[in-house]
Symmetry: C2
Subunit: 324 residues, 2 copies
């Protein structure tokens, strides 16, 4: 450590760099000036090796979602996490987790590369690497399918929110309400379907108008076509996210079905799709940005050894626009 040439020992320099207490103010100054004149930059590898901390956290995103950032949910969430971390000393390591080689992700996370991980995927795939929570602090976006008992996660009450959305349609006098559900191998898909069902049940309405999509706009279009092709009357639609709702709307518009006059539409997420579509979507506001903040906050707390709540529920709200 050449900076020691500026008068003191390496230990003292180390103390200054990590602004430890009990350092003579004068020495601090002289060391700092030495540092800047020598353009000294601490080597991270050495620091990590000695301190067993890396000052970086992993953000694990699914590769399967072929275009992760085309999905406003992922894009906004990652963005939000990045913005939160930039304020801290931690660096973000983006791990695209290929379902093909889960060991790569696993060994990365366990190889001492990061102090913690934020898992942004919530599919119920193999996820052998989900079993790492004991060796490494991990926070999930949404209740994970496995080990939900001992995992930290932040999410919204999908079922209640979906019920609220469906209830909005019921309150508007709609009596034949369909839904385009999300994938049934992840909780948001399951819970939002369940919420729609409970609202319709308590209104004694038919709950058979269900088609499943995969949260993409294209799947929303296809699901809408299948619903219409059933030949049954439909005057209300709840889509499990705005992307699918947008897809459905384009099909409705193509077939000259008026929104909301003929079919009222409610989405979920309140993302960019909600307002880019005509008419603007009535939808459930999903606090994605807040979600990213909280995830990062909780992870940092865990890393620092502070306690944190395992379950973190964020509030949602119904945003009424023009489609319902």
């Amino acid at each position: 450590m050449v900076a020691a040439l500026a008068g003191v020992s390496r230990s003292t320099v180390s103390r200054v760099v990590n602004d430890a207490p009990n350092v003579d103010p004068d020495i601090v100054k002289s060391v700092q000036s030495a540092i800047s004149t020598l353009n000294y930059i601490p080597n991270r590898a050495a620091r990590s090796l000695a301190s067993r901390r890396t000052n970086s956290v992993a953000v694990v995103v699914p590769e399967s979602t072929s275009k992760v950032f085309a999905d406003p949910f992922f894009a906004t969430l990652v963005e939000s996490i990045a913005q939160t971390l930039v304020e801290t000393k931690y660096t973000l390591n983006l791990i695209v987790s290929s379902e093909a080689r889960p060991e790569k992700t696993r060994s990365y996370l366990l190889g001492g590369n990061v102090d913690g991980a934020l898992v942004v995927s919530h599919h119920s795939g193999d996820h052998s690497w989900t079993r790492i929570s004991d060796s490494l602090p991990v926070v999930f976006a949404g209740r994970p399918f496995r080990g939900e008992g001992d995992s930290y996660y932040v999410e919204v009450n999908n079922q209640a929110a979906a019920a609220r959305a469906a209830q909005h349609l019921v309150d508007a006098g709609r009596t034949s309400i369909a839904t385009i559900a999300g994938p049934q191998d992840m909780y948001p898909g399951v819970d939002r379907l369940r919420g729609w069902e409970t609202a319709l049940r308590s209104a004694r309405l038919d709950t058979s108008l269900v088609e499943v999509g995969d949260f993409t706009q294209a799947s929303g279009r296809e699901a809408m076509r299948r619903l219409l092709d059933r030949g049954q009357r439909i005057d209300g639609l709840f889509a499990a996210n705005d992307q699918m709702a947008a897809g459905a709307c384009s099909v409705l518009t193509d077939r000259n079905i008026r929104i909301p006059a003929d079919i009222a539409v409610v989405g979920f997420d309140d993302d960019s799709f909600a307002t880019s579509v005509t008419p603007a979507l009535t939808t459930i506001h999903h606090p994605i940005v807040e979600m990213g903040h909280r995830m990062a906050e909780i992870l940092l707390a865990l890393i620092e050894g502070e306690p944190a709540d395992r379950v973190n529920l964020l509030p949602t709200s119904l945003v009424v626009r023009d489609s319902a």
Copy 2:
């Protein structure tokens, strides 16, 4: 290194892990089995410290673009880079570079954290950290404003492509062609404006219908309003990217100006905005995905000490849809 308990010395284990040549096949096997039974994962910090290589590369994105991933250009580029890197041994470190504290980015890049950097921003801000190309392999997305002589970058011929777009309007018989230009402090903004000018000049058309935006949809809307408020006749528009074109289209539609009947519109990028707008945009296809691939390829080559071209031009093409 506990794996040495499986028969041999640590050096041999190291050789096996880094699959060095001249290792007895039998020993390789026994070591590998020992590795898997012991769940041994090499510690990266130690490895980096000893080998002076980190097996990770930085992707520097601007924080200023408040929502980086809301911009299809950045989102697609980062996505593409991520997909390319996942096939390699390199890990992606996402650095959101705050213009407020450029030293943070600089010291990160120079602190031995990464083997190279991909710079995805091309603003002409302070960028004191641009001066790192000598200490670290760096590849830029688009010709950097400074030190373009000795930098590696991949881009398209913005001027020629813009000229082609404007020429398309000229060929369609449009005689009063406006443009919504990009920021004039970055080359894509400057070059696309210049291309539009040259095409109009050689057709002896007026080149005064210029308004400048910042590549966002909102700025496109405002610029379009300013253009219309000039009171001059306009029958053609070239926007420097699809987002601004989309913004302009929404204003035109609001004012009951038909596209392309009254005003033909040509965009630039061929991103998701181009097809989400009605009518679908005629635009310049910008090979963003290919760009990410090439950037990563070149960076890896540089890291490996292989030679690479400093200037890498990718081809564009005119995509004719419904707006012009």
